[in-house]
Assembly symmetry: C2
Homo-oligomer: 330 residues x 2
Amino acid sequence: MISVDFKLLTSATGIAVLFATSVLADPLPSWTDSEAKSRIMAFVDTVTDPDSVQYVTQSDRIAVFDNDGTLWAEQPVYFQLYFAIDRLRELAEKDPSILKTDVLRSAVAGDLETVAKGGTAALFEILDASHSGMTVADFSTAVRDWINTAKHPDTGMGYDEMTYQPMTELLRYLRDEDFKTYIVSGGGIHFMRVFAEEAYGIPPEQVLGTYTNVEYQVNEGKPVIVKTPGIAFVDDKDGKPINIERTLGKRPIFAAGNSDGDFAMLEWTTAGDGPRFGMLVHHTDAQREYAYDRDSHIGRLNNGLDKGPDLGWLIVDMAKDWSRIYTGTK
Amino acid sequence: MISVDFKLLTSATGIAVLFATSVLADPLPSWTDSEAKSRIMAFVDTVTDPDSVQYVTQSDRIAVFDNDGTLWAEQPVYFQLYFAIDRLRELAEKDPSILKTDVLRSAVAGDLETVAKGGTAALFEILDASHSGMTVADFSTAVRDWINTAKHPDTGMGYDEMTYQPMTELLRYLRDEDFKTYIVSGGGIHFMRVFAEEAYGIPPEQVLGTYTNVEYQVNEGKPVIVKTPGIAFVDDKDGKPINIERTLGKRPIFAAGNSDGDFAMLEWTTAGDGPRFGMLVHHTDAQREYAYDRDSHIGRLNNGLDKGPDLGWLIVDMAKDWSRIYTGTK
């Protein structure tokens, strides 16, 4: 019996059988049998069917995904801010004099309310203090150590366990259908690249995001890239289509986000010629995750809820459309 | 006889035979049988041999190439400047009032000496006047029209015929050996992307370069990316390793350039762990191309000639190592 199976697998017929099986298996098992799921699959079927007038060649099958709130959770604050604060604490233990301002002292004391009051300026101050003055390689090591040990304050889970199971299935499904999947996030590239390949199957060169200033230095004969204070590019709002165009030179055919920071990316993507798909993850599940939209200070979704449906975008209802939320829980 | 061949080609054995043939054929026929050629091939053999201790997995086989003077000619001035001036003439025909300064008037009059005296500032002035105020799509059309018709003042050849045949062979050879090939150039991304795929087999997302400012605009309901005045990033000198790290998140194992603008890129590439390859194209052929190095105002090569050999870089002698120069001539 074993030898027969083996022969079957290695024959051309066997390969066809295997293909048929994988096509028949549900590629999105953590999505309920809802309109959301069938709309995604109908789109993918259409653009990958060579006989369809809406067929899209492989090199144009570009899919872009926001990260915070789209591929993993983002409440009560962006996970990268937790990293920044933990890192700041670590640095301040060695040298308390680095805590020069109220914002930095509040951050280390865990007083996020004061930090929030400082708005974007406070956020950038914390980022500067925790993300600069080291090589990209050393920074990556710090992120890796953190993500392997730190726990989320609400769930007690590792942060990389709070990636969304339905979205990792969607990423894999699209890649199986010869899409190239990209992250396009307001988060930092040097932060996300550390875990994106393992968590999402997305290699470093397909991670676009915000980036800090850097310098090329030759230190004791060794050339390195060093992170320096200041943000060179903010990959949010209009910055998203701009960064995609700059990096890929192509307009995607599929874009997924969850907040108004993703509006321009979805707008640009879905305005292109031919078949396009825009989707917004709507956080509706206070029980299993978080429920927030128009009034949230993180991941505010207002414009997208108002205009998205008329633009043909899919609004994913997490509570209704996802049978499972996190990769880290069953 | 024909039917036998056809059967052979479609059988598994036939495919193996075809593979064997292509491996035995010379992948670099326009390179003379010199040390240069054998060093390149020895490197590729080593990193692609699974039994070698210096074996490099496919995802790390990243090769980066400068464009001007490395993949195509750059004399007497960068080809993009010819485009800019031709474009400026075209725009000035419709509206002469755009020629506001001496630099712009000199450029349109073909007085490159005055332009050269203005240095980088003059260059940027011409770029601003000719490269902004239109969508990326419209700019691409203008570049395509130009490259299909314009002729080089010295050779009378089309500019895309002045790509180097030995380098297109090298690009193809590396890709056949599962390298991913990138352009990393001081030239503009929106200029190069128009011809890079056809000329070099390099798709838009693998073209890194200098980029102008852009804006995301929604014009009459249509989202577009518009080129605006000013340069957002200059991809030269230290900018090259910085841009590679930012875009790829990886250090290449192979880098090719021709001027001191490429020094940092080669330095960073070849300082990495494991096998690395750096090469500089030395323009030594006044008869078939141009001869210039330490004193040239375009493509100055000084530091690279002094330090490159000690750093193990290959210095390619065009006159000696290349049996053919341009793709457009036999």
